[in-house]
């Protein structure tokens, strides 16, 4: 790795001023499990790493009546070891518990997963289906961006030079709601998704009718994809295999995959269909309190 400077600011304003002064030559460092690999491999060149782990706002995990405020640098293990968060957002835990290895989960953050903006980022689909919002601070103050609008291309996001992702705000789970995430990999652990799907449903009080649903896809396009038509197709419908199959078909249509070393276009369309049906069934069981 070429020589680089390192600063560990203890306040958000200090971090933003270092980031602003260095433009695209500086980047925040959370767990480092992506950025250190990129710098070492020459895939990214920077002058300054701005360690986010001493900035209070980026390291808080706060669950209140209005939802979850997840600091951008909170590592995965802190999320899944937090029993209240795990109970409220099992779909987020599905992803936090399968990113990399136990070693990686000890460092890597959900905020970093979002900022890395890989199409395969496992935590991004559940953040999208949970209606997460990215809270960004920068030289011009605060702004919020819906999770589905955050990534703009492989490795690219809406973050402007000088800006930093401070946290992700996820609304409190609605009554009778459930979320799930599944990915397909050819191994059991430690792999990058060939395809991934998160589904989130809100059922009526009887648990028999879908009020609303959101479905989001990973690894089947240049960015994570919110499959709006697939989710909307379930609204107002009774829970049935036919309705779920139709959502799977529409989610598969929303995918724009490529053929690469991990899988083919045809395989990925098929995987999205299957994973959509499976995650919908898990989300529905969770919404009914059955698991």
């Amino acid at each position: 790795m070429r020589a680089i400077d390192y600063v560990a600011p203890t306040s958000l304003s200090e971090a933003v001023s270092v980031l602003s002064a260095n433009g695209d030559r500086a980047r925040p460092l959370a767990g480092g499990t992506d950025i250190i690999v990129q710098l070492r491999g020459g895939r990214r060149e920077l002058d300054v790493l701005v360690d986010a782990k001493s900035i209070p706002e980026l390291n808080q995990i706060e669950l209140t009546d209005s939802g979850l405020r997840l600091g951008a640098a909170v590592p995965c293990y802190e999320i899944y070891q937090n029993q209240a968060v795990a109970a409220a957002y099992p779909g987020l835990i599905d992803a936090a518990g399968l990113i990399g290895s136990i070693q990686i989960q000890g460092r890597a953050s959900i905020g970093g997963n979002l900022c890395n903006a890989a199409p395969s980022g496992d935590s991004i689909p559940p953040i999208i289906t949970l209606s997460g919002e990215a809270h960004i601070n920068g030289p011009n103050g605060w702004r919020a961006v819906a999770a589905e609008d955050f990534c703009t291309g492989p490795g690219r996001s809406v973050l402007e030079p000088g800006e930093i992702l401070v946290g992700i705000q996820i609304p409190a789970p609605a009554a009778n709601s459930g979320t799930a995430y599944l990915r397909f990999i050819p191994r059991n652990e430690m792999d990058i998704a060939v395809a991934g799907v998160s589904s989130s449903v809100v059922l009526d009080a009887s648990g028999q009718t879908v009020q609303s649903a959101r479905i989001a896809l990973a690894s089947v396009g240049p960015t994570p994809i919110l499959a709006t038509a697939a989710g909307d197709s379930l609204a107002g419908k009774g829970v049935s295999d036919d309705a779920i199959a139709e959502a799977g078909r529409l989610a598969s249509e929303a995918a724009t995959p490529i053929t690469d070393m991990r899988g083919t276009i045809r395989q990925r369309h098929h995987l999205v269909d299957v994973l959509t049906r499976r995650t919908l069934n898990i989300a529905i069981r969770r919404a009914r309190g059955e698991e």
Partner: protein, 158 residues
């Protein structure tokens, strides 16, 4: 060019200060600066787990931690696993179960397994295999390693 940074850590219970460049990984600092070569470099990109150390109570791949990030931290490495009295039960189990061949992956496996068994002494085979998924071994086929960790768990519970 950025200068050297003074880092103060506690390594295996001993306060240890070192000077490093910000670009140097904790693994490089341990091996090349501090001179503790027990932690191994395998892939150097977080996949193989040979460089696993315990950082403030969590196992991490030290190739993906910068030395400067360890400021104020407690680092525990393979060098701190055995005591003056002798080998740790996990080390003894690895020997008796022939759970190593070339040995490059072994420090990482032992540091990772120790963290698991200290937190979850009753970890079963499925849990052990899941926990150790971030440690690669190209010699043993894993079975003897998993047997050794199960055996070590029994010794540590006894």
């Amino acid at each position: 060019m950025p200068g050297l940074v003074h880092v103060t850590t506690t390594i295996n219970g001993n306060q240890t200060d070192f000077l490093c460049e910000p670009r140097q990984s904790l693994l490089e600092c341990l091996r090349d600066v501090v001179g503790m070569t027990g932690s191994k470099e395998g892939c150097n990109d977080g996949n193989c787990g040979a460089c696993t150390v315990n950082l403030d109570g969590r196992i991490v791949t030290s190739c993906l931690v910068l030395g400067v990030e360890a400021q104020g931290s407690e680092v525990n490495t393979i060098e701190g696993v055995a005591s003056a009295e002798g080998l740790h039960p996990i080390q003894q189990s690895f020997l008796e179960n022939a759970a190593l061949q070339c040995g490059i992956c072994t420090p990482g496996f032992i540091v990772a397994a120790k963290a698991l068994l200290e937190a979850e002494p009753d970890a079963d085979e499925a849990r052990i295999r899941h926990w150790l998924a971030g440690n690669l071994c190209r010699c043993t086929g894993y079975d003897k390693i998993v047997r050794a960790v199960i055996d070590a768990g029994e010794r540590m519970r006894a």
